[in-house]
Symmetry: C2
């Protein structure tokens, strides 16, 4: 089933202990779409400026990603982010952020995407996330991401959004900020009181946590002995997870658990190289093999 993603497309400059890459393709929707496309057809909705280099779009070539919803807006500039992981591979320092087009009005969902059943609202203003969601006809599974900024400055809008989605993905710091609970299981349960039926808390190198109903599921990160560039790990995780879910048609706890494991495995390819290169170097067979290895490495 088709999976719709809305989110950012950006031009990144990234520094890590393994080098620097200037003006590479990035953005939450890009990582998400690429990761999800290993599992299911993806519909991409987002906007870039006139300055987006032609090579930007090459990344979608040969992938099952419908870019009908990719707007190239005249007179606008593409979102740019310059981040550094030189001090700590587990935490990006933002050297510079130019919101550019992300500060303008949001993209539109094209008519042929309005019947999408699976939807991921990557991190953006919660009012925009709601606006995009409201235009969809009858989505079956809606999952959103968010960030500190919106928790701090747009909490009422975010709380409105939470009433309308099935699942929320956020990182540990954001979960604590949103709920004022330090214990992540408590935090996850608090979030569910705000609306979502399940909550996935990303803990970076420490893996992830799923709260659904009374159940708690913990998953370590795939053990990686070399992390080159963690950019996009969280979005790739979400993409792998949602991509797998879109092929299942059920959202039972065991299915979501397997989806988390697929997300974990896909993210492990992302961080092995700069920008999209880690994902571009893999395929579904390699993902399935690593999934089996992960399952085996975790069983006792």
């Amino acid at each position: 089933m088709s999976l719709l993603v809305t989110g950012s497309l950006g031009i990144d400059t990234v520094e890590t202990p393994f080098g620097k890459r200037d003006d590479v393709v990035g953005g939450s929707a890009v990582y998400f779409a690429y990761a999800a496309s290993f599992f299911t057809p993806v519909r991409l909705v987002g906007a870039v400026g006139e300055d987006a280099p032609k090579s930007f779009f090459d990344v979608f070539k040969g992938r099952d990603i419908d870019t009908t919803g990719l707007e190239i807006r005249k007179g606008s500039k593409t979102f740019r982010w310059h981040g550094s992981y030189v001090k700590d591979l587990n935490e990006a320092v933002s050297v510079q952020t130019d919101l550019n087009i992300l500060a303008e009005q949001g993209p539109r969902i094209p008519p042929n995407f309005l019947d999408s059943k699976y939807v991921f609202l990557a991190n953006s203003h919660p009012a925009l996330q709601q606006q995009l969601l409201s235009s969809l006809k009858n989505p079956k599974l809606v999952v959103a991401d968010t960030m500190n900024l919106w928790i701090n400055v747009e909490r009422p809008e975010l709380l409105n959004l939470l009433k309308k989605i099935h699942g929320l993905v956020l990182n540990d710091g954001e979960a604590r900020l949103l709920t004022e609970k330090k214990n992540l299981i408590e935090a996850g349960r608090e979030v569910m009181k705000l609306g979502p039926k399940f909550v996935i808390i990303k803990k970076g190198e420490h893996g992830s946590l799923l709260c659904i109903g009374d159940e708690v599921f913990v998953l370590p990160a795939f053990p990686a002995d070399k992390v080159v560039d963690p950019t996009g790990a969280g979005d790739s995780f979400a993409g792998g997870m949602m991509g797998y879910l879109a092929t299942q048609g059920t959202f039972s706890p065991p299915t979501i658990k397997r989806a988390l494991a697929f997300g974990t495995v896909v993210a492990s390819f992302t961080i092995a190289d700069f920008s999209l290169a880690g994902l571009q170097a893999t395929d579904r067979d390699a993902i399935d093999q690593r999934f089996a290895a992960f399952k085996s490495a975790m069983s006792f």
Copy 2:
């Protein structure tokens, strides 16, 4: 098979967000011995001062713990630690540490303990750890713990110890300090180059990591929604792990993985209450039940 543990016995004062306990029983060997005794008979070697209250020894009553090696040294004072987790439940702040008897000569292993096949050298001066080890006849499995202090000030002695043991247990910060590798898998592999056949890296609330040969095994902590007092979690983890291993007679990777999972589960009881109370409130049946729940919560 009998499991020998040498380590500290202490009088703790502990503060956490859930309250304060003055002069309660503590010490690495105490937590370890109690935790291991759910699985196998334990031989305890350690020393306290004359000031140790009679109630100190009550904790071993009814447990399969042989205290022949527990010395009450005249003219000496028991090790005391005052720690606070009020600011951060995941990291103790030492308010006061009085080494007392730990700064004197070490305890002796009684003659009837010298044939012990399973040995855990809880954290103490690496020269003392070696001295204790050298008196044993023909141990089958020797695992040691260590700490920042010895890595910093007694590195040559610690390196000598590492050549003589089968397994090392240490926390993430210590593994990084010892090897100067930030990536924990790299760190684990570096430690193995120094002697041990396997390395277990404890990551507190984030679980643990096992490196053995080319294999890497990651295990999250048992998902706990209420942590009352984390004191002794690492020693209980080691106790559960070694206790289980002592019943197995093989140290294959799958056996050590299961042992880590048992250690994880036992530690989850420790942190649910102050001092030994969490362990005292449980039994082997409850441990086995939680083990099954943990296995199920982690499978996908």
